[in-house]
């Protein structure tokens, strides 16, 4: 009897959890009509936000690959002084509130800092621009790629790497022909998570890039702006689009994973 009531209590809690996740989704999806949605996606403001978001977040994924894979490689394969520090730096953006990260970037890149003023002497302005968005998104999302890739590298049998070396392959050849192919799934997972995080980024982005419509207004920033100015329908449209994006990402990711287990 006791066992049954325990399971019942657990199931009740699970029911609360399901409502917590499902009800807002249902509310969002039932707050608008198809006709209204179609209308919204014809508006240039909404379209521009979508384009800016996709453009910046995809560039962020590419940059994250270039910077993240080497960091993951070092963390997974090498012992060196300062490894702990590097490891902590990877965790930092995840634990830091994005607004704080945004503020820090704003101060660094603003006119009053050495970096900001030097850059502006060369005619480069990072804040209130797409480049600023990219930097902000990269800052908050790159840890996902690094962590996932690191785990993938770590789970490769060390002897397999050694085997490549003893067969005469250089480190680079081994990296390209053994480590990367074997870490492929982990890297893809990291890319998906990084992309999702970059798409959803709001706090740091709005700090660094502001919200200049048609220039630096990403989807999330547009949702916020539209709600604030009472244009609920357009923010709902963008929100729905974002939700569909993340669902699709989640599903492709899950199905990939299932196939992997079958193999």
């Amino acid at each position: 009897m006791k066992g049954v009531s325990f399971d019942l209590a657990m199931s009740l809690m699970a029911g609360v959890f399901v409502s917590l996740i499902m009800l807002p989704m249902i509310a969002l999806f039932s707050a608008t009509s198809v006709g209204e949605l179609v209308n919204q996606f014809r508006s240039t403001a909404v379209l521009s936000a979508v384009v800016i978001s996709l453009e910046t977040s995809l560039i962020v994924v590419l940059l994250a690959l270039c910077l993240g894979i080497p960091v993951a490689y070092l963390l997974a394969m090498k012992e060196f002084r300062g490894k702990e520090i590097l490891d902590t730096l990877v965790d930092l953006p995840v634990s830091m509130p994005p607004l704080v990260a945004g503020l820090a970037l704003l101060i660094l890149l603003g006119q009053n800092s050495i970096v900001g003023s030097t850059l502006s002497n060369y005619g480069i302005s990072l804040i209130f621009s797409k480049k600023g968005i990219i930097i902000a998104q990269l800052f908050v999302s790159i840890p996902f790629l690094i962590k996932s890739t690191r785990v993938a590298f770590e789970s490769i049998n060390k002897n397999v790497t050694s085997a490549s070396l003893t067969l005469g392959a250089s480190k680079f050849y081994t990296f390209k022909n053994v480590l990367l192919p074997l870490a492929k799934n982990g890297i893809c997972a990291g890319m998906v998570m990084t992309w999702a995080r970059a798409l959803g980024e709001f706090g740091a982005t709005s700090m660094v890039a502001g919200c200049i419509p048609f220039r630096t207004e990403t989807m999330t920033v547009a949702i916020y702006q539209d709600v604030m100015s009472g244009e609920l329908t357009s923010s709902i449209a963008i929100a729905l689009l974002l939700t569909v994006f993340s669902f699709t990402l989640l599903l492709t990711f899950k199905s990939r994973f299932k196939r992997q287990i079958l193999l």
Partner: protein, 382 residues
């Protein structure tokens, strides 16, 4: 090309794993490195291959000091204990890996692989992935992958520890014949004494990062020179005794092993290290002991003690017996067809004068000590 390890020192976290290890393997030799798990076998191979850097000492392959070279420049073949096949490549691509690294022409690659695939009988597997292979097949792929680049030196880390008895035998045959044809200098690591006997030209026994004895398999098994080697190769009977009389060819010793109710005398062959009054450890190989019924004579053997069978286990062809002889346990291995004793039965334990041999006592690690031990063994044979 021979392999020389000179005074290799290696510690992990301040704990020494190899202690001034010196080892010389001759060109073309099949050398077996035998030792229990954790004795440092893998570490030795990794140091030779350059996968692990020694703290001190040198590695020479041929006449070349390779201590400073990375693994990819050392030109050795390595077969890993867990095979370490590339999981994302087919059998063919696994085996071709080393040749592709060397940018060998395509048709040359298939030609060379075709030969080996046929030779070890895995042609039909060539498009499979490693996870679709049996243990024995993986083992063959790992071996061929290392062989096709035709290294001068082949290192194998317990390559057969995960195989069943049947695959072991066939692979051992293939391995030995390939090694003999190619004349590759080979170091083969194992903790299994049967493999050592089967394959080794010489065997070195490793104990806690130091080599205790280097010898041909037969010498090692019937004449272990230290207690560790004796126990490790299954020569379990080690008797503490003292020399009480030395004659022209023989000596009389008094066994006063601890736990023994009453010391008894044995006639043994004379060894150069015997001195009157000196304490020694005598080793008797279990196969050299015979048993007789209480009421029978003890055969032709000069040495007889009465004992009681306290334990017996049957392992196929032979019976392993433990006999309590007045407080001391002796182990015997008796062919099954002549064994007809019951447990708790009283029996005569007998053995010839040349069955016991002394353990030198010293570990034979230092070159000088080894030579001394070898000389003693040689004198004994003359």
């Amino acid at each position: 090309m021979g392999i020389v390890l000179k005074d290799i020192l290696k510690s992990y976290n301040g704990r020494p794993v190899l202690k001034d290890l010196t080892l010389e393997v001759n060109t073309g030799e099949f050398h077996v490195l035998l030792g229990p798990s954790g004795s440092g076998k893998t570490t030795i191979l990794s140091i030779i291959a350059g996968l692990v850097r020694q703290d001190k000492g040198d590695v020479l392959i041929g006449d070349r000091n390779v201590s400073g070279l990375p693994p990819e420049k050392r030109g050795i073949g390595f077969v890993f204990q867990d095979y370490a096949l590339f999981p994302h490549l087919t059998v063919f691509d696994n085996m071709a890996y080393g040749l592709r690294v060397k940018k060998v022409e395509k048709n040359k690659i298939s030609q060379r692989l075709g030969y080996y695939l046929g030779r070890v009988g895995i042609e039909r597997e060539k498009d499979k992935f490693p996870h679709q292979l049996s243990g024995g097949q993986k083992q063959r792929v790992a071996l061929i992958r290392a062989l096709v680049t035709e290294p001068k030196v082949l290192l194998m880390d317990e390559p057969m520890s995960n195989l069943d008895a049947l695959s072991k035998e066939t692979i051992a045959d293939e391995l030995k014949s390939i090694q003999q044809e190619t004349g590759m200098t080979t170091i083969y690591v194992t903790h299994n004494q049967d493999e050592a006997v089967l394959l080794g030209d010489r065997v070195s026994v490793l104990n806690h990062g130091a080599i205790e004895q280097i010898e041909s398999p037969d010498e090692l098994f019937y004449h272990p020179k230290t207690e560790f080697v004796a126990r490790f190769v299954g020569a379990k009977n080690i008797l503490k005794a003292s020399v009480i009389e030395i004659k022209e060819h023989e000596a009389v010793v008094l066994v006063d092993h601890e736990g023994l109710n009453q010391p008894f005398k044995l006639q043994v062959k004379k060894y150069p290290i015997f001195e009157k009054g000196k304490g020694i450890n005598l080793c008797i190989h279990p196969e050299k002991i015979s048993l007789n019924r209480e009421n029978e004579a003890g055969g032709n053997n000069v040495n007889r003690v009465m004992g009681k069978i306290i334990h017996k286990t049957n392992n196929g062809k032979a019976v392993k017996v433990t006999i309590n002889t007045g407080g001391m346990e002796l182990h015997a291995v008796i062919p099954k067809d002549i064994f007809d004793f019951e447990i708790h039965e009283n029996v005569w334990v007998s053995f010839a004068a040349d069955a016991p041999h002394p353990l030198c006592g010293k570990t034979c690690r230092a070159p000088y000590a080894r030579r001394r031990c070898l000389n003693e063994m040689r004198n004994e044979r003359l």
